[in-house]
Symmetry: C2
Subunit: 561 residues, 2 copies
């Protein structure tokens, strides 16, 4: 498929013996991954994650997959299968459970342990079923087989879904590290065996499809961390994702080797590392860990903090250290390691933290200056291994923006798959697998669902458009009270402007013009509020445009008494 989809109609009901695949998130974007499979009236959901907002979605906390397409069929959901514990794969589970609380959830031991901590905050207790690589489960008409995959969180799974309509392999997020920290390789042999049995449709991670070659092993970061920690003069603070257990493991090992104690900083880091330690995913040398409150009493060259905040989150401990607004006061000789990716859109925030830390004299090590991060996603070379091992009849690239989906499609063609066997979908595009051929058959509603504060869905594109205008241009409210009987102004005009001009008296002339506009309108016999407000809006808008060449949000209020 070479062109994007025109306006597609809702598809016909699924034919008997066919398998339907719809992504309610995760295709055309990086995040809120959720794919729904339908067979014989029953549904299986793989992943249910959140998307983090971009700069044109101001004030939004999270974006959810759009459940509209399955909302009136939630009873048909056999299960949610989770591939791994990242927020963009599990973060929306509580919101789905709000709509039906007893959906069975399947996932690996670590995935469910991290999910359970989150569900506890929401006081939700769905049936949780731990599964592991090599296992097969019958979930209604779907037979699910799990495969080990390597990723930037331990215990990730790929999912094969077998129905009479055919076999689908959903990779989840993965890469092909050949020397992983936990020795748990992506099961390429298993993929090949499944391929020999026949994979009708491969859904595969496209995040790094544009990146040529192979990703360095996570293991290669170890010596770099050891060198940094051994050579650091004073304290070392390492920031990374709170779920990156293997990265933290390597920090712990480097700290141990350099005689430093480790304290965890940040709520999610403390929580996740406790869980990982209890379940045996994180090996902690005896006596290594200390509490933050005990850090102050240690010599500075015996300290290593492992912290959240690697994306420059303004409230994180690291950002507060950069602003000298934290108990840890950064000094000349301290070393900060950002052992993390730089998610597009976070650059300014991250550089602000790096500059703040540099300003106070810290040495800052980050992925542009040392090998302290490797990606968790398979680049082109590794994707080709999977395509060649599985030899699917059809490919549907998932987990990616258009640039990634196109690049993945090009790789599939290179591997010998005919272009018409590559289905580039988007969120809400309905793909049916019939007689071994996957094809687009229609589309269902699939918009952005915004979480802001306590509410889900009450902020829509209308409010976001208003926020963008308010944020770029500010607001001007003009209030006038009119006496209906005398036809005269008896109160105001009162002008309140925010974000427009900080010069005293800036709106004096504007106020006179607004008063005159109302008086003129009343004299012309305009008495309805709408009409009067329109006059005020026009006069004030023109004056601001002429004076400032700006277009703030103008809200006139005319009240009659």
């Amino acid at each position: 498929m070479s062109h994007p989809h025109p306006q597609l109609a809702a598809p016909a009901p699924l034919a008997a013996g066919a398998l339907r695949v719809v992504a309610l998130g995760g295709i055309g974007e990086i995040g809120r991954n959720m794919t729904v499979f339908e067979y014989d009236g029953r549904l299986l959901v793989v992943d249910c994650g959140v998307l983090f907002p971009e700069d044109d979605q101001p004030g939004i906390d999270l974006i959810l997959p759009d459940f509209s397409a399955i909302r009136d069929r939630l009873d048909a959901v056999e299960a949610v299968v989770l591939t791994h514990a990242h927020e963009d794969h599990i973060g929306a589970v509580p919101y789905l459970l709000r709509e039906r609380g007893d959906i069975p959830v399947y996932g690996s031991r670590l995935t469910l342990a991290l999910l359970e901590a989150k569900l506890g905050e929401h006081r939700q207790h769905p049936p949780l079923h731990v599964v592991a690589e090599g296992e097969t489960r019958a979930l209604g008409p779907f037979t699910v087989e799990l495969f080990a995959v390597n990723h930037s969180v331990p215990d990730a799974l790929a999912v094969a879904i077998k129905t009479p309509a055919g076999v689908v392999l959903h990779t989840g997020d993965f890469k092909m590290d050949q020397t992983p920290i936990d020795g748990r390789l992506t099961d390429l042999g298993g993929f090949a065996r499944l391929g020999r049995e026949g994979v009708d449709l491969l859904l595969s991670d496209s995040t790094n499809a544009e990146v040529p070659g192979f990703v360095e092993s996570e293991r290669e970061i170890g010596p770099v961390l050891r060198r940094v920690l051994a050579g650091a003069e004073k304290r070392v603070i390492v920031a990374c994702f709170a779920s990156h257990v293997h990265r933290v493991q390597q920090v712990l090992d480097a700290a141990d080797a350099s005689g430093r104690h480790v304290a965890f900083v940040g709520r999610s880091m403390v929580r996740n590392m406790n869980i990982s330690k209890e379940l045996g995913y994180l090996r902690v040398p005896a006596g290594l860990l200390v509490d933050m409150k005990d850090v102050e009493s240690l010599p500075e060259n015996k300290v290593c903090l492992v912290s959240t905040g690697s994306q420059g989150e303004p409230m994180s401990a690291l950002s507060r250290m950069a602003n000298r607004d934290h108990q840890i006061r950064i000094e000349q000789g301290d070393t900060v390691v950002l052992a993390s990716s730089l998610i597009p859109g976070n650059e300014n925030a991250v550089f602000r933290v790096i500059n703040g830390l540099s300003r106070w004299g810290a040495k800052v090590v980050h992925k542009s200056t040392a090998l302290v991060h490797v990606s968790g996603h398979a680049p082109a070379g590794e994707l080709l291994y999977v395509l060649n091992a599985v030899r699917p009849s059809n490919l549907m690239p998932i987990h990616g923006e258009w640039r990634h989906l196109r690049a993945h499609a090009a790789l599939a063609e290179l591997s010998g798959l005919p272009p018409e066997r590559v289905v580039i979908a988007e969120d809400g595009i309905v793909v049916d697998l019939v007689d071994g051929l996957a094809a687009v058959v229609g589309a269902v509603e699939c918009g952005y669902v915004y979480v802001d504060g306590l509410a889900v869905g009450d902020v829509t594109e209308v409010s976001l458009k208003d926020r963008r205008i308010l944020g770029d241009e500010g607001m001007v409210t003009i209030t006038v009270v009119v006496d209906a009987s005398s036809g005269k102004i008896v109160g105001g005009p009162e002008i309140i402007a925010r974000g427009v001009s900080d010069e005293p008296g800036a709106f004096d002339e504007c106020r006179r013009l607004a008063a005159k506009a109302v008086e003129d309108a009343l004299a012309e016999g305009v008495t309805d509020r709408q009409g009067l407000q329109q006059r005020v809006r026009r006069v004030v808008g023109r004056w601001i445009s002429d004076t400032y060449r700006r277009r703030p949000m103008i809200t006139p209020v005319v009240l009659e008494v």
Copy 2:
């Protein structure tokens, strides 16, 4: 200097025989470069550029250097010397000329030609003096010698400033391309000669100080462009900066070699390339250029467009093509080359354009996938060449954020300069060169000066803070009219909310609470507007916080009639 500067007082007046250096922009940030030199009561300004706003400065068009420190001494300014024609070095000249219109401006031929086009729009005609490498000019007590430097715009200069207090070398922006397109090398020999004579203070470009090694030659992009243009099935659109004459030259040469005609797209591209062509900086093969209106009549594989919009600017031709909102309708088989850097903060905008183009089927080539861009700034390896050639007595890193300044300082130490001879300043920090030693002696006012629409400086941090709240949270205005004599509400409460909730009736309960708050206050004898407004603000704020966990801008208006 290892620590940032505490609150510094204004410096004492400059001692006789000493040289003073103050950056009014460009240190601690990338942009609005402006350095003021003072000797014997006279001032010399090097560069006067703009800074582009970040996401926490919403709605702002430009940020200027802060002229406060020299505003009452503009008559003492001997000249402005411009190092090259980039906006962050010349963009604020019109704003300085607004304050004194006859300041003599010195620069290379291309720099002044591009400046003149800009000044024409402002109807400004200061005395312009073309200078070239190798020339020396006496500007009051300052003897200025110019050196050729290579950068991402032709005809860039470094400036040596000689006074009885000592010799300063200001590199401007530069790199050390050893095979530049125009054969005009950075004059390392000249720097070395000046160094032998004695350079007391080196001000050197820090932008790429964190980047190890050397930058590839601009020339290496040529073969890549030729391959892309020769192999493209249909149209090719190359986006790059409108001042990057050598990049455009290479596109023209590649188009010529592949039998394609070229049209320029975008106002600044058309203007700059006309000027560059007329002055001989751009060599255009006969018959190569066509007008945009003639493009439609050419076969698609004979077309190459050279466009602005490489940073994802929403109004640019390229963004409009990505949205199918442009006469050029992107189709499968078209190729788009982003032959440009990716300025931090622009990632989301640029990826939005790449995704849009990919969606319509265009092949998009960018710097992550092919060598279609090289930086214009010297990385660490090249900075060391300059440090070793000049062997300055003191270094003051310029043109950089803190991370860059610190990295440049570390390079200077590597080259053998004692740490106490490296002065890390910030905007407004005053550095005096006395008896061969450069040292911080105080600070002058140096804030952000915002240009928004027609006005300069009326939007301050107060408005920006309001805009951030409005943009993230929206606004709620509550209007109530009270009869002073009866002590009763006679109009409203009227609630206008924008950017808060799009649910119908969302504020019905809030309106009742606001009315009750006013009635209760009136019953308690509160009659002043401030007091009534405070009650309303408190009640409405609490209700919104409890209901939504949000904190919009709340503006209560109580009017008495």
